[in-house]
Symmetry: C2
Subunit: 251 residues, 2 copies
DNA sequence: CGTCAAGTTGAAACAGGTCAAATACCGTGG
DNA sequence: CCACGGTATTTGACCTGTTTCAACTTGACG
């Protein structure tokens, strides 16, 4: 069996709570149950559909998105390996947006009962999932702010900064490099800009020596510089965890 | 004692689940416990503070907001009477935004244990609160879309449409009129526009006969027209409830 | 080596921003 | 009841960041 800490979900949740060996095994087990694949550009679930499972992204990138009747597209979130969608989604009748594969995506589907069992047998995982859900909401708020009140350069820099830090948190960055499979159109639809303007903005960020981005690989050349170009403040990612309440305790 | 259905929270949650007389009484009871008041423009809780209670808005309007270092302001959500903030917020160490009173606000503070008790004694309320939390997330996503991909006119029309429908859901509209205590600056900071441009946009909406807005009162003169000017689709409010699973059952 | 998607460039247009002054509104105290 | 002061709204003139459109280049892949 693979090392459970290599599972991005485990890496990420561990940043919040200490997880026991048994917790880590449980995450590994969940990552092997009901595994599905979706090709790039296809929906994992479409707007209007009735959600029947929580999705745990194992490999590849997905996004939440809305389409307006005339085709305008807004990306609401990027889902990276290790991300979990919509802990409590069973309560809703219909999706108000779709979840779409950016690259080919492999994911596990978790049914409603999984969480009832988790709450009993692995309360620490459940608490970490709740934390993760709250962080997802916080990210959504930060995106609202990003689009509403930042300039084009700040928006793009902010997005890249966030994605890099999240990839690193999931154990998916090597040094200051991470995979970046988005197109400039994807960046545009996430930041409320046009692809043309994103292109010019990226050129400026490159010219300032802040980033390089070629062949689906993002190199952060100056993280502090990028953060300050973005007015980036990582508080919304809630990476500070409460050591007292949440450290590992093996029973 | 007042009629429990007059409590806006009860009105709103009833739109989702059927609540028993005992549930309604419990909501009335919660609305009387630990009641606080905050004057307009003051924070109910500030960014960086450690959240110690869930807030239930009883009277007046509040907002969630973020301030960038240079003073730019983004309103993330408006909280109307009956709204509940952040069901699971105890898990987080620090607020990533502040909750600020728009008008004078009266609210009840609910501690962590309240929800443990509710889950046992009033599971139907708990389920409704979970639904409400999911709808709040959905609203946040819609705002991201609004700011990212709609024109100024669409944005403003969309915001007014949403606020009116939410007020009506909470039992706080008379016909096609509701209270609207926001300034044009508030609307601007919620839609990613400037106050000057909001002003011109509102004049256009008035000229088209869609709304009137004077003395803190909004009159919707043509709801369908306003919706279509906004490309408004109410699906994100998740007003459709599942009769089978969620109708009242008295035991 | 051809094809299709993604990225880049330039020129022109415009939605919305900025600045600054004028007006209306509203509660308060004389 | 009116004058006052502060806040919110409205107006006009001008400006600019971003969009639009259309063409061209590069890159990935069978």
């Amino acid at each position: 069996m693979e090392d459970p800490m290599l599972i991005p979900t485990a890496a990420k949740l561990s940043a919040f709570v200490g997880l026991s060996a048994s917790d880590l095994n449980e995450l590994a087990r969940l990552s092997r149950s009901d595994v599905q694949t979706t090709a790039a550009k296809m929906d994992l679930i479409s707007e209007g559909e009735n959600p029947r499972s929580v999705k745990l992204i194992l490999r590849g990138w997905a996004c939440r998105q809305k389409l307006l009747p005339d085709g305008r597209r807004q990306v609401l979130a990027y889902l990276l390996p290790g991300d979990i969608c919509d802990l409590h989604v069973f309560i809703l009748r219909a999706m108000d947006h779709s979840i779409t594969a950016v690259t080919d995506v492999t994911y596990a589907r978790l049914g409603e009962t999984v969480f009832e069992e988790l709450a009993d047998a692995h309360p620490r995982i459940m608490q970490a999932l709740l934390w993760d859900a709250l962080v997802s909401s916080a990210i959504q708020r930060e995106w609202t702010t990003n689009i509403g009140r930042r300039t084009a350069t700040e928006r793009v820099a902010h997005l890249l900064c966030e994605l890099f830090l999240r990839m690193r948190l999931a154990g998916l960055a090597r040094g200051n490099v991470c995979e970046m499979p988005l197109t400039q159109i994807d960046v545009a639809d996430a930041t409320g800009l046009t692809a043309v303007h994103v292109n010019r903005t990226l050129q400026a960020l490159r010219a300032e020596g802040l980033i390089e981005w070629r062949r689906r690989e993002l190199h952060i050349r100056d993280l502090d510089g990028l953060k300050s170009a973005a007015t980036f403040d990582s508080n919304y990612l809630h990476l500070d965890h409460d050591e007292d309440r949440l450290s590992v305790r093996e029973f």
